[in-house]
């Protein structure tokens, strides 16, 4: 979603965490998948607040 401009170090790290959580959201173990989905929904808020991403997450538990 980001257009123009460099991401700050913080933003880059948030994006890495976000992408990692997306992968974990599909894990076979419910304790991994469900907690990752919850964490993903929280990290999405940072991505959205910073204008980095505003996609929907229905493929990753909503």
């Amino acid at each position: 979603m980001t257009q123009g401009g460099q991401m700050t170090e913080t933003e880059s790290r948030v994006k890495e965490v976000y992408e990692a959580l997306k992968e974990l959201s599909c894990d076979e173990a419910p304790c991994v998948a469900k907690n990752a989905q919850r964490a993903l929904a929280v990290v999405w808020q940072i991505m959205n607040d910073l204008g980095l991403e505003c996609e929907q997450l229905y493929d990753y538990g909503g």
Partner: protein, 457 residues
């Protein structure tokens, strides 16, 4: 603030400095990106929006600038209710299957129709509390605070968002549901709450109950902040003053609506007499409610919102019915670039009463009545006698008044109300203590019993 007095204002601080201090050009670009994303999502996944946009000859690709939003048709609550009736339970405006939701809420049903059923997905529900954080943090709430949320919870979304936001900030958060007002006051005192979340009406009621219990909240409690939502009163000057004096606390206004997911604007620590729009999470428009034409700064009209946060139930160009006046960001000195609504939510576009040709706004009457410290509660009753409308304000005093003080109160009220309403005569009736209804949420102080709905006599 034990010892009494209203505490000083907190220093200016921002929940999200990146966007709250963004230039207008950057903000517009951000809003456009989010708008395009949301409109495309709704068009692709919601039968309701697809049909609506197709009928209007609009495709998501038509959005090239933020101004192009005016090419999108409005969405009304009536349409959403019709959709849920035709496609039970949740309507065809949803953009994902209901199984993707993890929260169910409903509107308060104050319009007399079936409440609107509302879903939130995991991400959407987190967003609801995130949006609240802008305001609560900006007003001064911090991790060290102890927050009492004084409402009944349940399916009405009400102050749920504030509860979750207080937890997100890291506050000890007390769910004040399920008890009486006395129970809540005891919790506030025993647990040392420093902030109370309530509707303006209920904040006044709690202060009254505390007095009856022999507690002076202003001098005996630790409460420094009253965080108000659910009603317009949070920015009615005399109502706000009454609440601040009763509690010895600063009172902040955080308007929102169930359909949007809660908080849409917030009062910052400067308390400029208005609320900042949450412009990185919404596009806000002000329109003429009759013509739908976009209004400019300083013009009063209906607030129309487009939410970027709630994906499962998109709200695009939603007509809120709230009467507002938008002003530029420099109305406040906090440094935020977000514009403001001067005076918060001024009322509902359809709650104005016309009595003998004079416009009567409930919020305006409230402000005048709340200027009289002797008045504990009030009610406005409009009737028709002999073909002529009559307006009466029933006031309940805080203590028994002797004949002289009662006459002074009646005369004083009649004069200020008449002077502010082009000479319209208001009857004043002083009723007994405890006679008028009390409210926790969504007060209903205007009773219009005239034949025609909404009374235009």
């Amino acid at each position: 603030m034990p010892g009494g007095g209203i505490p000083p204002k907190k220093p200016v601080a921002y929940w999200n400095p990146k966007t709250e201090l963004m230039s207008r050009d950057e903000l517009t670009e951000l809003q456009l990106r989010k708008l395009k994303s949301m409109v495309a999502w709704a068009y692709d996944h919601s039968p309701f929006y697809q049909a609506k946009y197709s009928a209007a000859g609009f495709e998501p690709g038509d959005l090239r600038s933020l101004d192009d939003i005016t090419g999108l048709p409005f969405t009304t609550k009536g349409e959403l209710l019709d959709s849920q009736q035709a496609h039970p339970l949740f309507g065809d405006f949803t953009s994902a299957p209901p199984r993707m939701a993890l929260r169910y809420h409903a509107t308060s049903g104050t319009t007399g129709r079936t409440p609107l059923r509302i879903l939130d997905s995991r991400k959407d529900w987190e967003w609801v509390s995130e949006a609240w954080c802008y305001g609560l943090y900006g007003f001064g709430l911090r991790e060290k605070d102890i927050v009492h949320v004084s409402f009944s919870y349940g399916t009405f979304i009400g102050l749920w968002g504030a509860h979750c936001a207080a937890e997100r900030i890291g506050c000890l958060t007390i769910p004040g549901g399920g008890g009486t007002s006395e129970t809540r006051i005891r919790q506030v005192m025993e647990l040392g709450a420093t902030a109370v979340v309530a509707t303006p009406t209920y904040a006044i009621r709690l202060a009254q109950v505390a007095r009856e219990m022999g507690i002076d909240l202003a001098s005996e409690s630790r409460v420094e902040m009253i965080l108000m939502a659910g009603e317009p009163g949070g920015n009615i000057p005399n109502t706000k003053r009454l609440i601040e004096e009763s509690w010895g606390a600063r009172a902040g206004d955080f308007p929102g609506l169930s359909e949007s997911g809660g908080s849409t604007a917030y009062e910052c620590s400067v308390q400029p007499g208005g609320v900042h729009l949450l412009e990185d999470h919404y596009v806000d428009e002000v329109i003429d409610p009759q013509t739908g034409k976009t209004l400019g700064y300083g013009e009063k009209g209906e607030l129309v919102i487009t939410s970027f946060g709630r994906g499962i139930m998109p709200m695009i160009r939603y007509r809120t019915g709230d009467l507002v006046e938008r002003v530029r960001n420099d109305y406040c000195t906090c440094g935020r670039t977000f514009d403001l609504l001067k005076g918060g939510i001024l009322g509902r576009v359809d709650d104005m009463k016309i009595v003998r040709g004079v416009n009567v706004y409930p919020a305006g009457v409230e402000n005048l009545v709340r200027g009289f410290a002797e008045v504990e509660e009030f009610q406005v009753v409009i009737t028709e006698e002999g073909g002529l409308p009559q307006i009466c304000v029933r006031v309940e005093p805080s203590a028994e008044l002797d004949g002289t003080r009662r006459s002074e109160l009646v005369r004083g009220l009649q004069q200020v109300l008449r002077d502010s309403h082009s000479g319209l005569r208001f009857e004043i009736e002083v009723v007994g203590i405890g006679e008028l209804p009390r409210f926790e949420l969504k007060s209903r102080r205007v009773v219009d019993s005239r034949a025609r709905d909404g009374g235009q006599l």
